[in-house]
């Protein structure tokens, strides 16, 4: 959770993923300007002080030489997957991972040089075709899996994804249909980041709700792809905390 020294508008801190952690205690973040808070961050001069509460929550499972990780990033969902690629590189297993990265246009795709520098394969997709495959990153993922099927490869695959909600559900369904282990990094409105406001609930399979900030943001797709309706038994009309 990050908050600049900007008075009380906006009031709450903003959740941001770590992009990269360097050894000297320095961390990089990558944020897309979508509203007030991110606009203020963009406008802050270098050297501005911010309050940070974190790191919070879990990460994707550790990279491993036994399994090929398909890291599927949609737009601003890149940071946790970049970080995953970075730790794969650090463990010397980057050549066992691939990043599938999609956006609306080539301008939405950033840090490409850095990722290539990590020695990780990069497959791009843009909706307008300005870079990589024309289409969605999920098209790219399906194409990748078809090739895997066609090759009747014994390669063990694992999918990790972060991006817009609709993309994540699509990735989850694709993974399910191919019987591939899949992890999704979710977003939800957050106030506290530490499991006390109970604001960041997501409907889950094993219990009514899980919390993005303390149980996540990364969940096995099987855990969060259950439809939310069953969980709303004690639903009452608002006003009740």
């Amino acid at each position: 959770m990050l908050r600049g020294d900007w008075g009380r508008d906006p009031l709450l801190p903003r959740p941001l993923s770590l992009l990269s952690v360097a050894h000297e205690g320095r961390a990089d973040l990558l944020a897309k300007v979508v509203g007030k808070g991110t606009a203020l961050m963009e406008r802050s001069p270098p050297g501005s002080r911010v309050s940070v509460l974190g790191p919070l929550g879990n990460s994707f499972p550790m990279p491993s030489a036994e399994v090929t990780d398909l890291l599927v990033a949609g737009g601003v969902g890149l940071p946790p997957l970049f970080m995953q690629a970075e730790s794969a590189a650090r463990l010397g297993v980057a050549n066992g991972s691939e990043i599938l990265y999609g956006g609306r246009t080539s301008r939405d795709l950033v840090l490409l040089g850095e990722m290539r520098g990590l020695g990780i394969a990069l497959r791009l997709a843009t909706e307008d075709g300005s870079l990589g495959r024309r289409g969605r990153v999920t098209d790219e993922l399906e194409a990748r899996l078809e090739r895997w099927h066609a090759a009747a490869s014994t390669q063990l695959l694992r999918i990790m994804a972060c991006g817009p909600r609709e993309m994540l559900w699509a990735v989850g369904r694709i993974a399910q249909s191919h019987g591939i282990e899949c992890y999704l990094s979710l977003e939800e409105q957050m106030a506290c980041g530490i499991g006390v406001c109970l604001g960041c609930a997501v409907a889950a399979q094993t219990r009514p709700y899980r919390y993005v900030c303390k149980d996540g943001p990364v969940f096995p797709a099987s855990e969060v792809m259950a439809h939310a309706t069953a969980a709303s038994t004690s639903r009452s009309e608002g006003g009740a905390q």
């Binding site: 508008d9 006390v196 639903r235």
Partner: protein, 317 residues
């Protein structure tokens, strides 16, 4: 404003205060639903330094709460509709209380029920637990039997509920009032008349927000409770109205407190202590900072005992 210049530099102002049968190290508590069960903040501030903490609202049985989205931000505030999710009395006693017994600060347990009997049952069971210094009744819960109207909106219903709980709770019993009323004084009086030890003023104000792109409410349950700096003027007004009406039980002031100055406004309006809510999300260590700021402000104004501030508002010529 009595000032004794020579003692100013030497003695720290006395911050001790009493409210509703409980002594507090200082007048700053943390508010229900914004401080979890205490332990979550253990690494983020000194719990020992707090006046006290109020737990998330507990019901007889565990509750899973409302579907997401449950919160959204508004101008200088936020809406929430968590749905009173909590672990229930049993799990609270088993899993949360052991830590709270050793945390070194006063512990009030916020509680509620969805029926009259649940309130009484819950209050009795919680009051019997060792490590619980007092109870705070949340009466903003919709009364299922009475068609979903909050228990706390009608002074008669509220009075009856307080009386019944009072009969079984032998520890300090506070009642947390809803601001969704045209007459906060009548509610406070109903509490005092039926044996409550203090009133906490205020809970959240019912509000709403809409996402114009999707045309859906930003909160799944449509309505949510408004909290944060936006509501401070309303909270302060209600505290002062109850204080001015000379209701014979003390007040704990709540609503939009961000700093020491805000806290002192509530004391001046008549609160004996305050609770910090939403601000703990903005900055988890804020309660600690607020205590320091109250102390500094007392020093600067030559106030040697924070209790001098309670109700010290100067009105009229």
């Amino acid at each position: 404003m009595t000032s004794s210049p020579d003692s100013l530099e030497e003695r720290a102002p006395a911050l001790l205060t009493t409210c509703g049968g409980i002594d507090f190290r200082n007048p700053v508590l943390t508010a229900s639903g914004t401080f979890g069960y205490g332990q979550e903040f253990d690494a983020l501030l000194s719990l020992r330094g707090l006046g006290g903490l109020v737990t998330k609202g507990i019901s007889p049985q565990p509750r899973f709460g409302n579907p997401p989205p449950r919160i959204c931000e508004t101008a200088a505030g936020m809406l929430n509709s968590i749905g009173l999710e909590n672990v229930g009395v049993e799990a609270f006693a088993r899993e949360k209380l052991p830590f709270l017994r050793t945390c070194g600060t006063r512990v009030l347990v916020n509680f509620f029920g969805t029926t009259f009997d649940e309130y009484v049952d819950c209050g009795a069971r919680l009051a019997a637990l060792d490590g619980v210094d007092g109870l705070e009744m949340n009466v903003s819960c919709p009364n299922i039997k009475a068609g979903g109207i909050e228990f706390g909106r009608d002074p008669l219903v509220l009075g009856g509920l307080v009386k019944a709980c009072r009969a079984v709770v032998r520890k300090p019993l506070w009642v947390k009032l809803t601001p969704n009323t045209s007459d906060i004084v009548a509610l406070a009086r109903a509490c005092a008349d039926n044996g409550a030890d203090a009133v906490s003023i205020i809970n959240t104000i019912t509000g709403m927000a809409i996402d114009v792109r999707t045309r859906r409410p930003k909160i799944a349950t449509v309505f949510g409770g408004l909290s944060g700096p936006a509501i401070k003027p309303v909270a302060l007004r209600m505290v002062y109205q109850v204080h001015r009406a000379k209701i014979p039980i003390p007040i704990c002031g709540i609503g939009g407190i961000q700093d020491g100055t805000d806290a002192i406004e509530f004391l001046l309006a008549g609160a004996s202590c305050v609770q910090v809510g939403t601000q703990s999300f903005v900055d988890p260590a804020s309660a600690e900072r607020i205590i320091r700021e109250i102390e500094e402000c007392c020093r600067a104004q030559g106030v040697t005992d924070v209790r001098e501030l309670i109700g010290a508002l100067a009105v009229g010529q």
